[in-house]
């Protein structure tokens, strides 16, 4: 349990603490959003329509690297939040940039994975219900990460321009929450899509 006996800057205004709570609530909604995608994917997993199956497609090495990239980026993002609470703009921005690069690495690998499936394995969105489910579930996560990258760039610019103010601090904190959350989602994709795909 964290014992913060002072109020961190991102919570220091009413607006800041409202927005942070609002964002948590939004994350609650995102959990449900992804759970709907997961249930569709799992129901359709065996509906391969004679096309490639998960066993045919998934490469352990590839998805492990993707997983590690995201796990580490979640860590570096967390270090950023610590710097934020130290009001250290430089440290914060530095960690955010590292996070961003790891995120780009992840997106790059994922794109590469998708392109391989489509061009080499002829496994496209249109091939089977299973692949529709796969591309849309994993793709929705990827789209979230990409959106996170654009958003993080905006936050970094604002931090550089204005320093740590209640407003920028709140934004930096929220983008951190978002990023960790995407890591949580990925853990479930790793489990329910990739590992499960090796088993079933």
């Amino acid at each position: 349990m964290e014992t913060t006996n002072h109020t961190p800057i991102e919570y220091s205004t009413e607006e800041g603490s409202n927005k942070i709570l609002g964002f948590w609530v939004f994350l609650g909604a995102e959990i449900v959003l992804f759970s709907a995608l997961f249930s569709v994917y799992l129901v359709l997993h065996s509906h391969t329509a004679g096309g490639p199956t998960s066993k045919d497609l998934f490469e352990v090495k590839e998805f492990m690297i993707e997983t590690f990239l995201l796990l580490i980026s979640s860590f570096t993002c967390g270090l950023g939040t610590i710097e934020l609470r130290r009001h250290n703009v430089k440290g914060l921005v530095a960690w955010l940039v590292v996070t961003l690069l790891l995120g780009l690495g992840f997106i790059g690998m994922e794109l590469n994975e998708f392109i391989t499936y489509v061009t080499v394995e002829h496994a496209t969105l249109q091939t089977s219900a299973f692949l529709s489910g796969f591309f849309v579930l994993v793709g929705t996560h990827g789209a979230h990460v990409s959106f996170g990258i654009v958003w993080m760039i905006c936050v970094i610019i604002q931090l550089l321009r204005r320093g740590v103010t209640p407003v920028t601090a709140r934004k930096a904190f929220i983008i951190g929450l978002y990023w960790h959350f995407l890591d949580v989602v990925w853990i479930f994709i790793f489990t329910a899509v990739y590992l499960t795909g090796l088993v079933l």
Partner: protein, 655 residues
């Protein structure tokens, strides 16, 4: 070349039906009329400054309600057209295709663009005032929600004249709604418009949840909140956790249709039943989204006009919480008949009927609020009283539907149609009408005419029963829903005739109501006290209509029925006692409107698969968001103390 243009226009505009040409003409005339009016009276700037850019929850609430009443009219005209077609057997007033489009738009518009916005409008009006706040937690987001809803509603409505309306029912079951069986653009309208307004709805949910959690006046603990606030809190939770499932369902169907995926198709392993599953995971909670807020309204109205505190406050709260938790575990009762195992059907039968228990607790608590009261029969109260027996009929027939083996006989028959109109109209519609009468003085500073209001009430309520009670029987006789015509000789003729007469009676009731609003705007009694009903909650503590900042001083709350308590103690005047301080308020902004226009553009592009239009629209959305992100630290201003004093003086509150 000319031929090309002609054939394009021929498929772009819906053609070949005099009724639609009539609609085209009236839409064009109305648009010209509005543009002319705004230009001639130099109202453009007023429109932009006062309405399009406002972030004031009270104005947003008014806009929601106006839009919802318009949509009630549109949905109601749809209903009357359907009933006109079904007045006699083998009627040819409407073609099958036309009828299918009409019931689809009727259901969709009534639920998404009438019931929900009406409720959001009342929430916007009342919630910040009830909890003693200056605005909602996120005023900017609130404006975004409204404009997304509004432009989505417009997008949905133009399908009538441009491209063709959706025709697969408001439930839009696959594979019927899939590209193969339904290749036109109508279904795209459904998918895109609901997606856009769904985003706005989700934002509303988050907004009101945080508002109620964090912005309550000092002293107002959760268990001292007014009942409408509680119901809004519970509803927000349902919205937040139900709408993402609709988002996914719509997105997957769109991907199927636009990009050839196979989620719900018959080919390549798609699972049409998965659509039903997702739709109802959202759909059942949705019916409580449109019900629970009005339960809050009824609590307010009944306790105000019985001149008593609410009976069983805690039980009222916990039963709503129970309903919200249970509402997520009953969805399968909408497809009992899709070959589920006996275990599955048993589970969902029982989980469904259990909801009757907390609902019943509420019914009895209202009855006992009336007990030992001093009942005053205002129009608002009449709507609330009529709710009790009429809704109970809908509720118990719901319980009858929840017995799966019996539902095999009711499913998709007019018995079902009767059930849900009984709950939706006696619940939602009576509820928003009660709320409209109740809060009208707070919105506009005058009271609605009671005599006309009562006329509208009796005509509408009696016709409503004439219209929907016979439907139970015609359903048991075997008439199914969504039949554009019915054969003679089955004994269905008399009941269908009665039903149609009832429907037109409701139309008359609606017209009286519109007349009442117009009449009251001119001759309505002014409300100078701010407290026309001897109210019990904080919205009555400020003047009518409430000033921009709501309360000159944030009230201090000690008990439930905070304002009644203040009046008893003689502290009500503290809210507007000099000296005043400057008040911090959000700035108006045009971004929500502009953002939503980009959504509209992108959406229209997607409907027609015109990517040259959809992509710039999407870029516009992203750019608007970035602009907002870079400007949001400078979006506040202060109302100086002197101005507060002037306002209060003008409202007659300072001597």
């Amino acid at each position: 070349m000319i031929e090309n243009i002609k054939s394009f226009l021929g498929s772009f505009f819906v053609t070949g039906d005099p009724m639609i040409y009539g609609a085209d003409a009236s839409i064009a005339l109305a648009t010209i009329g509005i543009v002319f009016y705004l230009t001639y009276f130099k109202k453009w700037k007023w429109l932009w400054d006062e309405w399009l850019t406002t972030v004031d929850h009270k104005k947003i609430g008014i806009m929601y309600i106006i839009a919802a009443i318009l949509m009630l009219f549109r949905g109601g005209v749809d209903a009357l057209l359907m009933r006109a077609q079904l007045i006699i057997p083998n009627n040819t007033f409407l073609t099958s295709q036309h009828y299918n489009e009409i019931f689809t738009t009727h259901g969709t518009i009534m639920i998404f663009f009438m019931a929900m916005p009406f409720i959001f409008g009342l929430m916007n009006i009342a919630i910040p005032l009830q909890i003693g706040a200056r605005d909602v937690a996120f005023p900017f987001l609130n404006a975004v929600s409204f404009w997304l809803f509004f432009l989505a509603a417009m997008l949905f409505n133009i399908s009538f004249v441009i491209g063709g309306s959706p025709d697969a029912g408001w439930t839009s079951y696959a594979p019927l709604a899939g590209l193969k069986l339904d290749p036109g653009v109508g279904e795209n309208y459904y998918l895109v418009a609901l997606q856009i307004s769904g985003i706005g709805t989700l934002a509303t949910g988050v907004n009101f949840l945080v508002t109620i959690f964090k912005m309550r006046a000092p002293g107002m603990t959760l268990f001292k909140m007014p009942m409408f606030t509680w119901s809004t809190l519970v509803t927000s939770i349902i919205i937040i956790f139900a709408f993402p499932v609709l988002t996914i369902a719509l997105a997957l169907m769109s991907i199927d249709r636009l990009f050839g995926a196979h989620f719900f198709t018959i080919e390549a392993g798609g699972s049409p039943m998965m659509w039903a599953n997702l739709f109802w995971i959202w759909g059942h909670p949705e019916v409580y989204i449109v019900l629970i807020p009005v339960l809050g309204i009824f609590s307010e109205v009944i306790s105000t006009f019985a001149h008593k505190t609410l009976f069983g406050y805690k039980a009222m709260v916990w039963s709503m919480i129970a309903i919200s938790v249970l509402s997520f575990t009953t969805w399968l009762h909408h497809f009992f008949t899709m070959g589920n195992t006996a275990w599955v059907n048993s589970f969902f039968s029982v989980s469904t009927m259990i909801i009757a228990i907390p609902t019943g607790v509420k019914i009895f608590n209202w009855l006992f609020t009336l007990n030992k009261g001093r009942i005053e029969f205002t129009t608002a109260m009449l709507w609330a009283l009529a709710f009790i027996p009429n809704f109970t009929i809908g509720g118990i027939t719901g319980v009858m539907l929840s017995l799966a083996p019996a539902d095999y006989q009711y499913h998709n028959s007019y018995f079902l149609i009767a059930h849900f109109h009984n709950v939706l109209i006696a619940g939602t519609v009576f509820g928003v009408f009660a709320g409209l009468h109740y809060w009208w003085p707070k919105m506009f500073g005058h009271v609605l005419n009671e005599r006309l209001g009562k006329w509208a009430f009796w005509v509408f309520m009696i016709s409503y029963n004439i219209c929907f009670l016979p439907m139970y029987f015609i359903g048991l006789m075997g008439m199914t829903r969504r039949m554009y015509t019915f054969p003679s000789g089955l004994g269905w003729e008399p009941l269908n005739l009665v039903i149609t007469l009832g429907a037109f009676g409701m139309g008359v009731g609606f017209l009286i109501m519109v007349w009442m609003i117009v009449y009251s705007a001119k001759y309505g009694k002014r409300d100078t006290t701010g407290d026309p009903w001897n109210g019990r909650t904080l919205e009555w503590a400020t003047s009518s209509p409430a000033p921009e900042y709501n309360f000159a001083h944030i009230p201090q709350v000690e008990t439930v029925d905070a304002f009644a308590h203040m009046k008893e103690k003689g502290t009500a005047g503290n809210i507007y006692k000099a000296p005043f301080q400057a008040i911090h308020m959000p700035n108006d902004t045009g971004i929500p409107f502009i953002l939503s226009v980009f959504f509209f553009i992108a959406g229209f592009g997607l409907v027609f698969e015109w990517y040259w239009m959809a992509i710039p629209g999407t870029i516009g959305i992203i750019v608007s968001m970035i602009v907002r992100s870079f400007k949001d630290h400078e979006d506040h201003h202060h109302i100086p103390a002197e101005e507060v004093e002037q306002t209060e003086r003008a409202a007659g509150r300072l001597s």
